[in-house]
């Protein structure tokens, strides 16, 4: 509890920002959905056949899992707020459309006939009879949609839209229950409060008008802010993203500090926990992000066409990665840092002792005893389990794929007895695991370096210069310590990064 309060107090700025972002995404989606669904239902109520088809389509959209829908939207509208709003809007259309449609079509036919026989125009009938009678249904549709949007919006964090989902994702990544509680409780609270507000508003006509005005003002506020943002003089805008976990976030913060030291007017946006490798790489290709830290080995294994065997010498790997990226993708891969980060496999102390396993070649003997949990990337890559299997003749009895941090939790809870990991992971220490020796030198050493498009590098030579200061810096121990600070001790990545840079005289203050 104390730690939770401390986390909240320390991060109140960020929490508030996420909360506002969450509200903003939710409201914009809801309003767009209302603007689509309600007129559509009004229009289709007199064309019952199309109206029913509309219901079916809306129902089908609803059944697409939200994560899949978000994924499907990326190639169409990119990443960030836009696809999140599009996806949430699509979800919200269903309850809004359905409720408006049934509200309008279930009006007593006698009343409808009376209105027609009185000579009321279509518009008058809608305004004075049909809409007011359908309004309670419509408002309940809005409530359902809003609660659903607020809940689903937590998933928007996975495609870089921010919001409270950031905390939930971070919580899962870093195995930090406090973040999970903050993200989960706040989004639940938000849904609860707004649902209550809508119910209150819907209980009288005056309140509906009042509520409408508040929403309008809110919209004007957002709109005004957007206009202001667009009009005010723009300094250099740089977007730095990173993969999931604490290490990329620390590196991104270092990049930011270094860039801003040299260019105080640069406006650097960080998008931590942005997504997996291929997702980030695509985002970079599309110029949706400008820089992200990537590993040399990953470049050769997953990102470029390179069919020869990956060499074991880190320098060679970097050289090949750099030239291939420049040739195939027109990207610039800056000089790597010192530490080598690579995959490893780790087992519990207990397992290691019981079966006398200390190196990877020992595993062949106990194939049937191994219950493994792997990061999805690792289990699919040639430089991961696929290659490892051949090299060490492995065939584990059970292989589970799960998110990086969940897999450590799984081994801590004894659900599995073997996991993959990175050499810089702090959890090895935290859970007292045994890292198995790669005695046949299968895993290539991975070094981290900033990756960017070449035209960006040409346009921003100062940024390249700033980032190159990290060349050859940061040892494995430094990185492990920093990761430990962030993911176990819950320190802020920005603070940890800043402290390191100051300590090593890379930053003035």
């Amino acid at each position: 509890m104390k730690v939770l309060m401390q986390t909240i107090v320390e991060q109140r700025g960020e929490i508030l920002k996420s909360l506002l972002q969450h509200i903003q995404i939710s409201f914009i989606s809801l309003l767009i959905a209302m603007l689509i669904a309600i007129p559509l239902a009004i229009w289709l109520r007199n064309h019952r056949r199309f109206g029913e088809i509309g219901l079916q389509i809306a129902g089908i959209i609803q059944t697409i899992p939200s994560l899949a829908l978000l994924g499907l939207l990326i190639p169409l509208v990119g990443i960030g707020t836009v696809p999140a709003v599009v996806a949430l809007t699509m979800y919200a259309i269903m309850p809004l459309y359905q409720n408006t449609y049934s509200g309008l079509t279930n009006i007593d036919p006698n009343l409808e006939e009376a209105a027609v026989a009185f000579g009321l125009s279509k518009w008058k009938r809608l305004q004075r009879l049909e809409f007011p009678l359908a309004l309670p249904m419509i408002i309940s549709g809005i409530r359902i949609a809003l609660v659903m949007i607020i809940g689903t919006a937590t998933l928007a964090a996975f495609i870089g839209a921010g919001g409270l989902g950031d905390y939930i994702m971070l919580g899962i990544q870093q195995n930090n229950n406090y973040y999970l509680v903050i993200g989960g409780v706040l989004s639940a609270l938000l849904a609860f409060i707004f649902s209550g507000l809508l119910k209150y508003m819907g209980s009288s006509k005056k309140r509906i008008y009042g509520g409408g005005i508040v929403v309008l003002l809110f919209l004007l506020g957002i709109g005004g802010n957007q206009v202001y943002q667009a009009v005010k003089p723009q300094p250099v805008n740089i977007t730095i993203a990173g993969k999931l976990g604490s290490e990329p976030e620390i590196l991104m913060n270092m990049y930011k500090d270094l860039i801003q030291q040299d260019q105080p007017n640069a406006h650097v946006t960080l998008k931590p926990n942005f997504g997996g490798t291929t997702f980030l790489f695509k985002a970079l290709k599309k110029n949706q992000v400008d820089i992200y830290p990537e590993f040399t080995g990953t470049v050769l294994e997953s990102l470029v066409d390179y069919d020869k065997k990956t060499p074991k010498d880190p320098k060679k790997i970097y050289h090949i990665a750099k030239t291939t990226l420049a040739k195939q993708e027109k990207m610039t891969f800056l000089e790597p840092m010192e530490y080598e980060n690579g995959y490893d496999l780790a087992v519990t102390q207990e397992f290691s002792k019981k079966y006398h396993v200390t190196k990877l070649s020992d595993l062949e003997r106990v194939n049937d005893k191994v219950k493994a949990a792997f990061d999805p990337d690792f289990s699919n890559q040639q430089d991961g389990y696929l290659g490892l299997k051949k090299k060490y003749n492995l065939n584990f009895s059970e292989v589970n794929r799960m998110e990086p941090s969940l897999r450590y939790k799984a081994i801590a809870n004894k659900r599995v007895n073997l996991v993959d990991g990175y050499t810089t992971d702090p959890q090895v220490q935290e859970y007292n695991l045994v890292v198995l020796k790669d005695d046949k030198h299968f895993f290539p050493p991975y070094q981290g370096a900033p990756l960017m498009n070449s035209d960006f590098a040409e346009k921003n030579p100062q940024v390249v210069k700033s980032l190159n200061r990290l060349k050859g810096k940061i040892s494995v121990e430094d990185m492990q310590k920093m990761n430990y600070q962030v993911s176990v001790k819950n320190k802020k990545a920005s603070v940890v990064a800043h402290d390191y840079l100051v300590k090593h005289n890379l930053l003035d203050k």
């Binding site: 006698n110 009343l111 006939e113 009376a114 026989a117 000579g119 004075r128 009879l129």
Partner: protein, 310 residues
């Protein structure tokens, strides 16, 4: 004036109406009566173009209905449906003035007109104008529905089984109200009912319909005295003569009205009255809280006039 000329109506293979010819005069309270499925409501709905005949033409003020602008036509007609069909989301005043609102009449004028009409049915506008329909009794709702039809001072009011859903007491009150308002405003009213008692009570002239054909058109007296077809005779159940009905007696001039007094003996039906008048030549009594006087002589005169049915 309304004229139905050679009206036919077919839904697929079903003939709803066949060669209907009918004239309704201005200011008349005209009743269309017949069993369900006889086509009476279809005839009514042709007047406000909710239904368009497949054969023939309906004329309103010497113009074919189908040539009218439908909205204008409807705005100048009152309409009272079976249940009150008040718009539940609008208050009494807005309900009454809804057609005026569509016509673009100012709010102040609408308010005034609604108050006028409410007063005409003895509902205090101060008390009732802002109430919602759900806050009214069934009888009050029906009264509002009736005056709503009067709001635009229409030249024609259509009433479609308007009182069928009411209990007998309310029904009678509503009938009285329409009769009173009709006397007051001289509006043409076309009234559809399946209830022959109601038809006899309300209609200045009655058209009896069966299976899409007109059986007879005439005053209640004509129909009772000279039913044109067997159907009419059976429908009006002439075995139990209409003059057997106390209300019919009260409506005739055979009774002398006297001051009401609680002491007067209560008479509920015609049979009781006859029985008592065989024992005495003159009887003062009360019927439905009103005092009447009747002599056996008057009774005989009444019977000789009304009872001449075969």
């Amino acid at each position: 004036m309304i004229t139905y000329k050679n009206i036919g109506m077919k839904y697929g293979p079903n003939t709803i109406l066949h060669d209907v010819n009918l004239k309704i005069d201005d200011g008349e309270l005209f009743v269309l009566v017949g069993p369900s499925g006889s086509g009476k409501t279809t005839l009514l709905r042709m007047l406000n173009k909710l239904t368009v005949p497949t054969d023939g033409d309906v004329y309103f003020e010497d113009r074919k209905i189908k040539e009218y602008d439908v909205q204008k036509l409807r705005l100048d007609m009152g309409y009272v449906l079976q249940d009150s069909s008040l718009f539940p989301n609008l208050n009494v005043e807005d309900n009454i003035a809804i057609q005026l609102e569509q016509k673009g009449v100012s709010k102040a004028k609408r308010h005034k007109r609604a108050a006028e009409l409410l007063e005409s049915v003895e509902l205090d506008p101060k008390k009732y104008a802002k109430r919602m329909p759900a806050e009214l009794s069934g009888g009050q709702q029906q009264r509002i529905a009736i005056i709503r039809a009067l709001a635009t001072e229409p030249s024609l009011i259509l009433m479609d089984e308007s009182f069928s859903a009411l209990d007998p007491v309310l029904r009678k009150k509503s009938q009285d109200l329409v009769l009173k308002l009709h006397k007051q405003y001289k509006t043409t009213i076309v009234f559809v009912t399946h209830d022959m008692q109601e038809a006899l009570r309300m209609g200045q002239r009655i058209a009896v319909l069966n299976k899409g054909e007109i059986q007879q058109v005439g005053t209640p007296h004509d129909i009772m005295q000279h039913p044109a077809t067997d159907f009419v005779r059976q429908f009006f159940d002439i075995k139990t003569p209409h003059w057997w009905d106390m209300d019919f007696l009260v409506a005739s001039n055979a009774l002398k009205k006297i001051d009401f007094n609680e002491q007067l003996p209560v008479i509920d039906n015609f049979k009781e009255l006859m029985k008592l008048l065989t024992q005495q030549t003159q009887l003062d009594f009360q019927y439905q809280k009103a005092g009447y006087s009747m002599t056996s002589q008057k009774l005989l005169a009444y019977l000789s006039e009304e009872g001449g049915v075969h």
